[in-house]
Symmetry: D2
Subunit: 345 residues, 4 copies
Amino acid sequence: MIKVGIYGASGYTGQELLRLLIRHPQVEIAAITSRQNKGLPLTRVFPGFQGLTDLTFADYEPGQMAGLCDIVFLALPHSVSMQAAPLFLGAGKKIIDLSADFRLRDIKTYEKWYGKHSAPEILKEAVYGIPELYRGAIATSNFVANPGCYPTSAILGLAPLLKNRLIDHRSIIIDSKSGVSGAGREPQTGTLFCEVMEGFKAYNVGRHRHTPEMEQELSLLAGEEVTISFTPHLLPVSRGILSTIYAGLTKDTSTVELLRIYSDFYDREIFITIYEEGVLPNISAVRGTNSCHLGLVVDDRTKRIVIVSAIDNLVKGAAGQAIQNMNLLCGFAEETGLNMMPLFP
Amino acid sequence: MIKVGIYGASGYTGQELLRLLIRHPQVEIAAITSRQNKGLPLTRVFPGFQGLTDLTFADYEPGQMAGLCDIVFLALPHSVSMQAAPLFLGAGKKIIDLSADFRLRDIKTYEKWYGKHSAPEILKEAVYGIPELYRGAIATSNFVANPGCYPTSAILGLAPLLKNRLIDHRSIIIDSKSGVSGAGREPQTGTLFCEVMEGFKAYNVGRHRHTPEMEQELSLLAGEEVTISFTPHLLPVSRGILSTIYAGLTKDTSTVELLRIYSDFYDREIFITIYEEGVLPNISAVRGTNSCHLGLVVDDRTKRIVIVSAIDNLVKGAAGQAIQNMNLLCGFAEETGLNMMPLFP
Amino acid sequence: MIKVGIYGASGYTGQELLRLLIRHPQVEIAAITSRQNKGLPLTRVFPGFQGLTDLTFADYEPGQMAGLCDIVFLALPHSVSMQAAPLFLGAGKKIIDLSADFRLRDIKTYEKWYGKHSAPEILKEAVYGIPELYRGAIATSNFVANPGCYPTSAILGLAPLLKNRLIDHRSIIIDSKSGVSGAGREPQTGTLFCEVMEGFKAYNVGRHRHTPEMEQELSLLAGEEVTISFTPHLLPVSRGILSTIYAGLTKDTSTVELLRIYSDFYDREIFITIYEEGVLPNISAVRGTNSCHLGLVVDDRTKRIVIVSAIDNLVKGAAGQAIQNMNLLCGFAEETGLNMMPLFP
Amino acid sequence: MIKVGIYGASGYTGQELLRLLIRHPQVEIAAITSRQNKGLPLTRVFPGFQGLTDLTFADYEPGQMAGLCDIVFLALPHSVSMQAAPLFLGAGKKIIDLSADFRLRDIKTYEKWYGKHSAPEILKEAVYGIPELYRGAIATSNFVANPGCYPTSAILGLAPLLKNRLIDHRSIIIDSKSGVSGAGREPQTGTLFCEVMEGFKAYNVGRHRHTPEMEQELSLLAGEEVTISFTPHLLPVSRGILSTIYAGLTKDTSTVELLRIYSDFYDREIFITIYEEGVLPNISAVRGTNSCHLGLVVDDRTKRIVIVSAIDNLVKGAAGQAIQNMNLLCGFAEETGLNMMPLFP
């Protein structure tokens, strides 16, 4: 049993970590923090935990937290994580940071898209946490930068193509649609029920902060610099991201042939499911799970491929992938505590 | 490991049984049937099972099914279950029937509300499957009539009051609201997305077939004949039943005192959670779980009690309670395979 | 053409007044105020008005506002309205107040449920604005207290029974379900999309502030003091209130007979629709309209009547009824500007 | 007053025609047909019309229908319209066909995507009914092929660019998301509430039947043959289409410059709204209206333009545009009966 702490546990990502960690067989939750809910029982903030736990929010300083835990999840906003991370690392603790603060390897890129970085010296210690791509590096690390939700869906959807040089990397368009939980639990007009229900919109077109994160990873996969078009949209659902990805093919091929390449690439990956020809993913099939479902169509008329990638933004896009990374960091079987069935309907 | 079969597995109740049984540690799913999906893989009908199972629908006659299974779940419409049940019982198999066919102990009541019964001779063998009330009888039985979703929410909400003779049993009003999955997966105009979304209505007022089932059980609890007002409504959600129950109090009491009585009544019941004063259940706190959440308010102005009871209609209201009953029938720990966390948001 | 002002126009009620008044043939919108959106075009706050108006929010003091308008709608929170109302009345303007500040005729009741009242001297000048009950008084008044949304649905549903002394007034139970827009547009955790979607709950059981408003009006109709049980619930829809109302009948009668009494009572009321036997209202049938749809069932088993009353909380429950009152105050045909068709699906 | 008939009036498009035509000041609805609802009052099928009309469904043969009406709307499935249209034309009536049967000018293309055409001889008489592009031809015609919902959103979004040769026409990608009402009111598993709610998926990728319709019209605008990528998705909303359209720019330009070109192109078009820089459409801003809202972003990093086009699929995408066409055919002011305000929230 390892002792786990969650820093910033009162948001949707925090509660999702709790949902999964409470049932994790090798974990004891030692501390959860929330400045604004200090002293309150978890069940007061998330009534669904009634009867399942008697955890209470504290407002520990990093020093106290480090004394209580072997591993700390940082479920904090960007620019806040970077203040806490060095303290935990310095105390010899393992960290999984769910913010954007340590995902970009180039400090200039970070500062261009997010603002000043206060801990650049530890940036190179962080491993980008997509286990399907960086399993070995994660397993030998102490510090994981857990990927963004949009990037997870897009990178997993494009990796087999870029690695195999099957698409023109200048032609990539990523049209993504996300559920509202991705916007967090802070009250704001734009995420009120009445604003979102029966609505649908694009936002931050051409300038969403997940763009450089995707480009960094897609470039590494391609072996050359990749620039993408990325358009996020707000779906009137609570959970789920579906990315529809377009790219021009560099050679003649077929849906079936590419599906075989995907299946080979993700062979034995327990959290990746490749659909057969003629079937495409729906976010409802991954709700509550750590799975990424991938389907694709080769369009002979336009010589383009269309890839559809579906994840649950709170699980594979955040808390679930974080626990998958924790399992690697701690030497547990990678799927421990992550064998949830999808909730449908 | 026992061998389990599901008869009529292509509806929402069937898929929910599968969601839970696939992860049940003492169960092997030996057969699933669906006349219309015969020969199709389960994943074609419910894509969420991709990568989790390779079960295929068959169209076994009861005789074949009995040869394959130790216990059979009947997820069939009423009047169809009554044809299959005698064959399985005769073959020495255990049955959990999720239809209404064996819930009413009085054949006349059944025939008044549902129509002709073709197997009245086995009616008395069936035990009404609310474990919190009939645990002993269920454990020694072979044949469980799994309760209706509305009755489960109402009976659990009223049992402590009736047992303790705290309310005027002529004053009971049950105002229930159910998610759409309760109406099943057969295509019909009334359950289309566009008909339900942004809508809300009452239906079958004063004549819903769950009325006699509630009255039977509430009368047994009260020790005298109870007649209720019951109004079901259709909520624009997929899962969940919330029943708001009104009754006149027969003596002066308080919210706190009654909450204590509820806590005592359901002491050590793992699937029942009693809320503290000032907090009331939301169906979102039980989504995907086998729990029943209960809260209540004593209204001094009117001398009435208002009880709020929340369940997931597909779990505690159907498949989950069925598995709870299976665990009892088979001598497993009652909560085996049922420790799901609620999915929120 | 009269000149109209809306005080507090940036909430859902304010925008609904605008939606209806922009198309009203005898109205010119002279001013709209919003402290926080001062100077912004209306279209920036409500993009749906793009191309339909070039109104801009101002932050007028009441004195300025009175100089610009013949009639003022107060779409303000309670306790704020009471500060503005005397100034407009003193300036000889007509007022329609959509807050609760002038609905209760007894100052003690107001102060018990809401807190200190700063303008009790003008309380008796306000007319309670349900035109179907107080048409004459409204038409000769300058000052309308526009009813609450829940009370509108309940009072219209019960008036024919109480006037005709057909129910035991101690037996009234009002179980209401409201869409989220009733909670306003101020950001708060409880009305975020993720909190409400796929959820349903009761709130403020036995202590909602609309209770005394209902009791005041129901008592006037009954000719004796009425005490009710009232339970509001939060529906995962944007618009609509459905009230399911229970009462014990004082004499033998039938659904058909009572429907006839309702039809007589509301004869020639253009905004009231009485359903025929066997059909009950759905909030989706009144979405966007000023109609109240009423259906009922006599339950012979329990000697109770169940009335179902459906309105759009933002229209008949707020802005639409306010304009109906304005039409009366100004001598326009009562339905002017209110002939909207329901939006379905 | 002209006499109007609706053939196939029991679907969502039919009811939307009724919603708008009942309030149209120059129209009398002479007949509505529905085979399966023959003899039923409209209010039984669509309760929202209670109190607004006493229309009843008939099952008239085309000959009878022609005798009753001056103009007929065909709200029929494709391949059924083509049987009825020649009879109405032959009887000297005006027709607005909402099916796909007369939209494609090339019979071979029709038969490749839809199947055998039984009335090719009248194909050339039909005018494609986007008034913003073909106003003159429509006004002098008797026979309008009303456009598909997806094509309306895409063609309006791309017309200014293609006419001005600003994009590489081989680079066009149209990623569209539609509400469920587009799938019609026939009960089917895929459009049940529980299947759609909290879900999102792509479908018919690369092979949706609206593709050739878009290509026909985009080619006419471009003056050369255009081949597109088109991906439709199913949104969990009742109404609305949002198309996110990508294309490579052929010259350096800016968001502001292109917005000016759009504003010029659609100058004085009452149903087209061009958004200013930094603001993008949401389907909730056009709900219930005949408007098309357009916004765009030039992405300097990729030299692509992203256009966002929002319509209500049942109004500008079907019934509203049909009435706009009727107004032109009949010489009424084009906006008659179409000045609806958007319903929000």
